[in-house]
């Protein structure tokens, strides 16, 4: 009897998910079509403007990617969301201001070579500083909590976020600090912001280097092993503590580089800039937390959304809506694809 009703009902039940699946797909397609239409109209109305907005989008995306990768690297290896990461990035911007502005006095009036090496020095300085700061945080505050309940290290990172932010306020004051326009804003005849192009061009080799480290080096192998099974990695002779430190260092280095590029692009910063980390974290979740390509993709998407929303003129909601839009998309993604765009339930982390 029971089997009878079971088989009788089965076709109906089987069709249901297919219908909702179709509905989902239809809605998704409709939304995407609307988006494409909106972009197309904007493009037709002002191709030049569209082009520079696109570039700004990629620039934002590149900056977010450098921060988002830090969240995803650390999450990938110890499943912790490091809420202090945005503030490490903020310190990268501060160190950049100190080196490029205060120490070297770069303001765009120097020759190309001087500017180039000055910016390089600032970037290396910020990368080294954040590359040391981040693993130090792990060593001092997080390592001893590795076997504690999940909430303990999470709350700790929140506390550290405040400490880093207050320390920056102490050293750099409560107001915006910054540098002059170190990079030119136009190249040749193009109406394109050259500094944005430079940000993108500087990000690409950093991402390639990261990919190389994770995929090809011994430390990268250790990272992947720890991410997949920490105890098994120990049994293979991997020094897990060192591997985690290394991961935090990588995350810090990228945040430091991001800090320099941010200052070049935006020219000002403040002690509370770490809040930008929230958007970058969203990017990491959007792409699939723990997945490096996903973090980059998520960051590009959010960067583009922000630029389109704030820069296009035909029916763009405008700047005050950016955060709402980004988080609405995040919520939709979490509802319909909780693992993020590229994360599979068993995602190839790190």
């Amino acid at each position: 009897m029971a089997t009878d009703t079971h088989t009788a009902r089965r076709p109906v039940l089987a069709v249901l998910p297919r219908v909702t699946g179709l509905l989902n797909r239809a809605v998704t397609i409709a939304l995407l079509a609307l988006l494409v239409f909106w972009l197309a109209v904007n493009f037709v109305q002002g191709p030049g403007q569209f082009g520079s907005v696109l570039l700004i989008g990629f620039t934002n995306g590149a900056l977010y990617a450098l921060i988002a990768l830090g969240y995803t690297l650390v999450y990938g290896i110890i499943e912790l969301i490091n809420f202090a990461h945005g503030d490490v990035f903020m310190w990268g911007t501060m160190i950049t201001v100190s080196i490029a502005g205060t120490r070297l006095g770069l303001d765009g009036s120097q020759s190309g070579i001087v500017t180039f090496f000055g910016v390089l020095a600032a970037m290396v300085g910020a990368m080294v500083f954040c590359g040391i700061l981040n693993p130090t945080i792990e060593r001092v505050a997080l390592r001893r909590l590795r076997n504690a309940p999940r909430l303990a290290p999470l709350i700790t990172t929140l506390g550290i976020s405040y400490i880093l932010s207050n320390a920056a306020q102490f050293f750099y004051g409560p107001n915006y600090t910054g540098v002059g326009a170190i990079l030119p804003s136009n190249i040749l005849f193009l109406d394109w912001p050259a500094k944005s192009l430079i940000v993108i061009l500087a990000t690409i080799p950093l991402l390639l280097a990261l990919t190389y480290v994770v995929r090809r080096t011994r430390q990268g192998k250790a990272m992947r092993a720890v991410a997949q099974d920490m105890d098994a990695a120990r049994m293979m002779g991997v020094d897990v503590d060192r591997t985690i430190s290394f991961t935090f260092a990588l995350a810090g280095i990228l945040a430091g580089a991001g800090g320099t590029l941010y200052v070049l692009e935006i020219t000002t910063t403040r002690y509370d800039l770490g809040q930008i980390g929230l958007l970058a974290f969203t990017a990491a979740v959007l792409g699939g937390i723990g997945n490096l390509t996903g973090a980059t993709l998520g960051a590009l998407i959010i960067g583009l959304i922000q630029a389109f929303n704030e820069g296009l003129s035909w029916h763009a909601p405008g700047e005050q809506w950016t955060t709402s839009i980004v988080f609405s998309i995040l919520i939709l993604i979490l509802v319909f694809r909780p693992q993020g765009l590229l994360g599979q339930p068993e995602a190839d982390r790190a």
Binding site: K221, A225, D229, M235, M236
Partner: protein
Amino acid sequence: MSAEAPPAPTANPPALLELDKVRTFYGRIEAVKGLSITVNEGEIVTLIGANGAGKSTTLRSIQGLTKPKAGTIRFAGKEIQNAPPHQIVQMGIAHSPEGRRLFPRMSVRENLEMGAFNRSDREGIEQDTEHVYSLFPRLSERRGQQAGTLSGGEQQMCSIGRALMSRPKLLLLDEPSMGLAPILVDKIFEIIQEINREGTTILLVEQNALIALGIASRGYVLETGRVTLSDRAEALATNDEVRKAYLGIS
């Protein structure tokens, strides 16, 4: 570090591994309660006992994965109970753990490479990889496949092969028969014997006492964290208590 000459039990072959009154806790639960065992160079020694007796914890203590609270563990004359796991691996102990614990999203080949993590002699690693493939031809066929998608038997082979990749002096095997069909179990135990003949000392943990005692030279019976019996394997296999409790023979 100074190896105070351990009181040699008798004029036997030198002890490769010696646990002396080792006590290991999980929180307040004492899983290993003052365990003393010895494994001599070249032997296969087995630890048998019911589920929860503390067999896996003993292996994890040797490997440094769970630190003993008291007692000493001496390997090749050195005290290792305070050394971190990666140093213990470098000293020559490898572990094929309970549940295999392969890296699921790495290929068979990459898992074997992970086993050689602390080695840099490329040629030697290549040779050992081929050797593992010759011991387990099945793995050779699957070398590009993700370890998470292997069958249980293949995973066990990969786990043992991976442990061999560090060229260990001592191999810790935790329930290699678990969940495998009897034919496969026989096959794997033949290979374990072959690995031993090639010169690797083996400490074998099993619930399947019959087959473990069949290939071991000596055995220890564990009950709730304590050794209750220790003897030559043949003697244990004919011991009435053991037969009752672990061989299902009355």
